[in-house]
């Protein structure tokens, strides 16, 4: 089991680095897809089948395909690559560090809820329990997430409409 974890982690890290390092944007996107697959493999190692398959459907199946779409249609190459000013580069690094800090803090501070389920002997990976937890304990954040998605959808529609009028 541990060797499997090491192999998966090696694939995750390796493809993540290749995503950043490869020159061709399409290759980057494909490496990112592989990275997502290996992360899904980590979920499967926890026996979290639902998270595993949702990760594949949403990230590898939907988001990355749309990303590949845009990259293929825009036909990016080296000549189009803009040199970003140094200030925005520093801003990007700072923003990334802040996000990493928040993530780290949540992981350290968070109370593992799993123990409660382990004590009660419930199958905490099953969809039934997951659905109950989402709609009972975390109802408000869950609904907020859906509102967020709706807002971004409306924003996308609005952007495409605007271009249409200008033309």
């Amino acid at each position: 089991m541990l060797t499997l974890f090491y192999i998966l982690s090696a694939i995750t890290l390796g493809t993540a680095f290749l995503t950043i390092l490869s020159k061709n944007p399409i290759h980057s996107a494909i490496y990112l897809v592989l990275c997502f697959f290996s992360i899904a493999g980590h979920y499967l190692m926890f026996n979290a089948q639902f998270l595993f398959i949702v990760h594949i459907i949403v990230y590898s199946g939907a988001i990355m395909i749309l990303m590949l779409f845009t990259i293929m249609l825009m036909n990016l190459n080296k000549a189009d690559e803009k040199n970003k000013p140094i200030l925005s580069r520093i801003a990007a690094v700072v923003a990334f560090c802040l996000v990493a800090l928040v993530l780290l803090a949540t992981f350290i501070k968070s109370q593992p809820v799993i123990n409660e389920y382990k004590v009660s002997g419930q199958d905490f990976q099953s969809i039934k329990v997951l659905g109950q937890v989402l709609l009972n304990n975390y109802m408000v954040p869950f609904e907020f997430a859906s509102v967020l998605l709706l807002v971004s959808m409306i924003g996308a529609v609005l952007l495409s409409k605007k271009e249409h009028i200008n033309n």
């Binding site: 399409i26 089948q49 459907i57 395909i65």
Partner: protein, 346 residues
């Protein structure tokens, strides 16, 4: 005991693989024979008796063709495209229940490679990954027509996946499970899901035509506009893999239609057969019943091909987004209300 299960599952997986391949092979012949029948021709009849060896001859021809590589720096992706298509076309069969359990040599043999809790979502996951095969192949061909064909095929597949998922939600609400094994077992005798979910079935059927890139939605290979679509630059067995993957996925989607909506291996009077001839005989008949249903749906695919002309691209998108998705959402609401009312009455 553990080893026995591994051997049993191994044999089962090999058998399923062989059956899928056999079906995909003879679908090519059936397609041509049925086309000929619809157009009042004879069809292929030279290789073997009544053209029975035609698929072998086709395969041999594809193998012996020149292997052509276009001028592209992405040779690896060019080869990976058909490989991904073929792999994903074959992966779905792992969660399909091919029959009820048999008792052989004092052991219960479950005719399903694996019955995971999330079988239905697994099918969707594999479907969404299948888009990569077409997309990567089309892009790596370094050809504008291929790229446009790949774009069309993948945007069509993504659009119809949404409506397909919404159609399935009704079924999940009704049966309360995502496992294909339990859904199949729940349709005992005559309680086929199509009788409870006719609208969902029609949406699912239309979407599966779009997912397999079959006429009337085969815009990816619209010859008049795009030459051969995403496999324009492909030749030899790589081209064969794309074509074969299409037929394999047609077989698999027919199977899923039969399992989800048309009662899988269940047939009316199965209890009577079981009481007369024993459980094993009844279940073996069930397997044949499932394959009869699959053959019917494969025939249906070919029937539609020669009945309905190809859609225009904007019509296709309009049908997907403006008709099927609202219809599927309305179906979810109606199903939910009915389930709620039925629960209160009980």
């Amino acid at each position: 005991m553990d080893q026995a299960i591994i051997i049993e599952k191994g044999i089962f997986i090999v058998v399923i693989f062989a059956i899928t391949m056999l079906f995909a092979m003879y679908e090519t012949l059936a397609e041509r024979k049925i086309a000929a029948w619809f157009q009042d021709r004879v069809g292929p009849n030279r290789a073997g008796k009544g053209g029975i060896l035609q698929p072998l001859a086709d395969g041999l021809k594809l193998f012996s063709k020149e292997e052509f590589f276009p001028n592209t720096e992405n040779r690896f992706l060019f080869i990976a495209g058909p490989a991904i298509s073929m792999t994903t076309a074959l992966m779905t069969s792992a969660v399909i229940p091919w029959g009820d359990k048999l008792t052989l040599f004092g052991r219960d043999v479950i005719l399903q490679a694996t019955d995971i809790n999330i079988g239905m979502l697994y099918v969707f996951g594999v479907l969404s990954v299948g888009v990569y095969g077409i997309m990567i192949g089309g892009w790596a061909s370094n050809n504008k027509f291929s790229l446009m064909g790949a774009m069309r095929a993948s945007s069509q597949m993504i659009s119809y996946e949404v409506a397909m998922g919404l159609a399935i939600i009704c079924l999940v609400m009704m049966t309360g499970t995502l496992s294909l094994g339990e859904i199949a077992a729940g349709q005992h005798g005559w309680r086929w899901n199509v009788l409870y979910q006719p609208v969902g079935f029609i949406i699912f059927l239309v979407c599966s035509f779009a997912e397999t890139n079959r006429t009337p939605f085969d815009l990816a290979e619209c010859e008049a506009e795009l030459i051969g679509g995403y496999h324009t630059e492909y030749s030899s067995m790589k081209m064969g893999f794309y074509l074969f993957a299409e037929y394999a996925s047609m077989f698999i989607s027919s199977t899923i239609l039969a399992v989800l909506y048309f009662g899988a291996y269940n047939y009316p009077g199965m209890d009577w057969v079981e009481s007369v001839a024993g459980a094993n005989i009844a279940n073996i008949i069930g397997i044949f019943v499932l394959f009869a249903k699959i053959c019917f749906f494969i025939f249906f695919y070919m029937w539609v091909r020669w009945t309905i002309p190809r859609f225009r691209y904007d019509q296709l998108m309009k049908l997907g987004w403006k008709m099927l998705i609202p219809l599927a959402i309305a179906n979810i609401i109606v199903t939910g209300i009915i389930i709620l009312l039925a629960d209160q009455n009980l």
